[in-house]
Structure formats: C-alpha cells, structure tokens
C-alpha cells in the first residue's frame, strides 16, 4: 500500500503553531505517542497502525483542539484536512485488502488509546497535537 502523503506541507503548517501548542501541554512526564514506540515499529502491518492513528487524530484529537486564536484554528484545520486526505487513501488500501491489522499493530494502537484516555480530554488532545512531529517522522519513513 504505497501512498503519497505530502508530509512536508503538514510539517510546514504544524511548524507555525508548534511552540504555542506544546506550551499548552502541562504534563511533561507523560506521552501519548511515545517517541520510541513508533520508531521500532516498521513491520508488515504498519499500514494498519498508520491508518488507525490517523483516524484517532480525526475522531478524537483535532475536535478538542479548538483555541481562542483564529490563526491557530485555521492551521489546525489545514492539518486535519490533510490527515483526512491521507486517511482516505489508506481507506482505499484497506478496501483492497492491502492494509490488514496484525496483533502487534492492534496492541500498539490500544496502548496509544490507553495513554490518551488516562488524561483530561482537552489536555490529551493538545498533547497529542503537540506530538505531531513524532507521527510525521514515522509517516515520512513509512
């Protein structure tokens, strides 16, 4: 399942708001994506994990990231719509049975959800958005 993702455009958009978003994350001792957990994860069903994480951001993260800043909201919208554009491509792979979920991908995804659900929704969403670099680096290597 090879997909063009245009990650640098998302990175550019995120780069303009990253400092502000990460400054709103008071919980320094916890992580949702965990920088190491994704990077030693390059096995066959990374497609499934990628799609699951994209849907996690679409379903749970972006909607809780509204800020009082119009500029930041516009940039978050750009990122969210780019994620949706990529997720739709993964969906095609899944429909053609090229994006199956193995046990490790499922376990990894559930770990991310557990990390997320241990925190207050808004704080968790802002933290997950602040960790976008981790995800983008991993997707870029996909």
């Amino acid at each position: 399942c090879s997909i063009s993702m245009n990650i640098h455009e998302i990175r550019d958009g995120f780069g303009t708001i990253k400092k502000v978003i990460q400054a709103r994350d008071p919980i320094r001792t916890a992580s949702i994506l965990h920088p190491h957990s994704l990077h030693n994860f390059q096995i066959l069903d990374s497609c499934c994990l990628a799609r699951s994480i994209l849907r996690f951001y679409l379903d749970k993260v972006f909607r809780h990231c509204e800020t009082g800043s119009l500029y930041i909201n516009r940039k978050i919208s750009g990122i969210a719509n780019s994620f949706l554009s990529i997720e739709k491509k993964f969906r095609v792979c899944q429909d053609e049975n090229m994006c199956n979920c193995g046990e490790e991908a499922i376990n990894k995804y559930h770990q991310i959800i557990r990390n997320y659900e241990q925190m207050d929704v808004t704080l968790a969403a802002m933290k997950a958005l602040g960790e976008l670099d981790i995800l983008l680096n991993w997707l870029e290597a996909y």
Partner: protein, 204 residues
C-alpha cells in the same frame, strides 16, 4: 427593514496553486458595504459538526476578493461562503455553487530564460513557491531522440544544465510538477541557444 442582499457570482480563480475567492459587489446607495469570508474543509463537514472557520484577513473587507491560498492547504473538497454587512445589518451567507478542490488549479507552463555562456548551458526559472518542482528537458538540436532531464526544486538560482560542445545548438523546454496534487503543467516554449564556436589553436 429590507434584508441586505447576499453577494452573488461567488467564484474561485485558481492558478498555479494560488486560490482567490471573488464575488460581485452588493450595491447599497450611500452605504459602505463590508464583506466577510469563511471556509470549511471536508474535515469540518465530516468530523466537526459542519463548522465554518472565519478568514481573519477577509473579515469586514471592502474589496470583493479574498486570497484563500493559505487556508486551502489540503487536497480535499472545500466550501466557502461570503456575506455582506452594513453597520450591524448582515446578509445571508452565500456559498459556492460547488465544492472547490485544489487539484483543479490551472498549472501554467513555466517561464524560463535559456542562455549560453561560452560553453555553458544556463537556465533561469521563475519562482513559484515550495509546492513546485521543475522538470527541465534539454537536447542537442536535431537529436530529439536523446533528451536529458533535470528535476529542480529550488528555482531561486541560475541553473547550470550542462557543458556544451563548441558551436553546437542546444534546445530546452520545461514543465512544472506539483506533488500535492500529482499533476504537471504543459511544456513551456522550446528555446534554443548555440555554444561558442571552438577557437583555432595556433601551434608554433
């Protein structure tokens, strides 16, 4: 009182990944009509309760156009709306007749300047922004079957394409490619230049 009419003829003009929303002015004798623009991507429709996002630079403006390039930053269908306002009175929102996807932008063949500097084949390109790659093709005139290609992302400097054979004519053409929408422009006009003739070397 009579409600302010909504703007009409809302259209998007999109060329080389620059997108502008334009509309017809609302005429109210003796009043200064202001306009405000909002956008909505597929994400907002499907995941964020059909919400709309104001474009700050196009809130309370007098002109009848808005640069929406920054906000159309994904390859998904977008909707846009604009309304008129006079004082505290505002018209209904008027929206696009159909969604806009940046994949439909018009890609114009790039402008380039080809020069021969002695034996060096040089090309200068226009700047189009980070979304663009330039695919440059060159060949010896009359040898169109043997074409060389260079892919260039940074068009800010003069490009040295090749060292030419003395006195030989070389031809160049180029097209742009935009990865975000996976499309190319048509080719530019072909331009040919001749390398400096070889110098006779006097052997004594």
């Amino acid at each position: 009182g009579v409600l302010l009419p909504a703007p009409r003829n809302i259209t998007i003009l999109s060329t080389n990944m620059k997108h502008f929303l334009v509309w017809s002015p609302v005429m109210v004798p003796g009043a200064a009509v202001k306009y405000s623009v909002e956008f909505q991507g597929e994400y907002e429709r499907d995941y964020a309760n059909d919400s709309w996002i104001p474009i700050g630079e196009c809130t309370g403006i007098s002109v009848t156009q808005c640069d929406i390039t920054e906000d159309i930053s994904a390859t998904v269908p977008y909707d846009l709306r604009v309304r008129a306002g006079v004082g505290t009175q505002a018209s209904h929102w008027a929206t696009l007749s159909s969604f806009f996807n940046r994949v439909t932008t018009s890609l114009i063949p790039p402008m380039l300047t080809v020069t021969a500097d002695g034996y060096h084949l040089l090309v200068e390109l226009e700047r189009l922004g980070p979304a663009f790659e330039f695919w440059i093709y060159y060949w010896k005139k009359g040898q169109g079957h043997k074409v060389y290609r260079k892919v260039v992302k940074d068009s800010s400097t003069t490009l040295h394409m090749d060292t030419m054979e003395a006195g030989t004519e070389y031809c160049v053409k180029a097209q742009t490619y935009v990865e975000a929408i996976n499309r190319s422009s048509n080719f530019s006009q072909v331009q040919c230049v001749r390398a400096e003739a070889g110098k006779a070397i006097l052997v004594t």
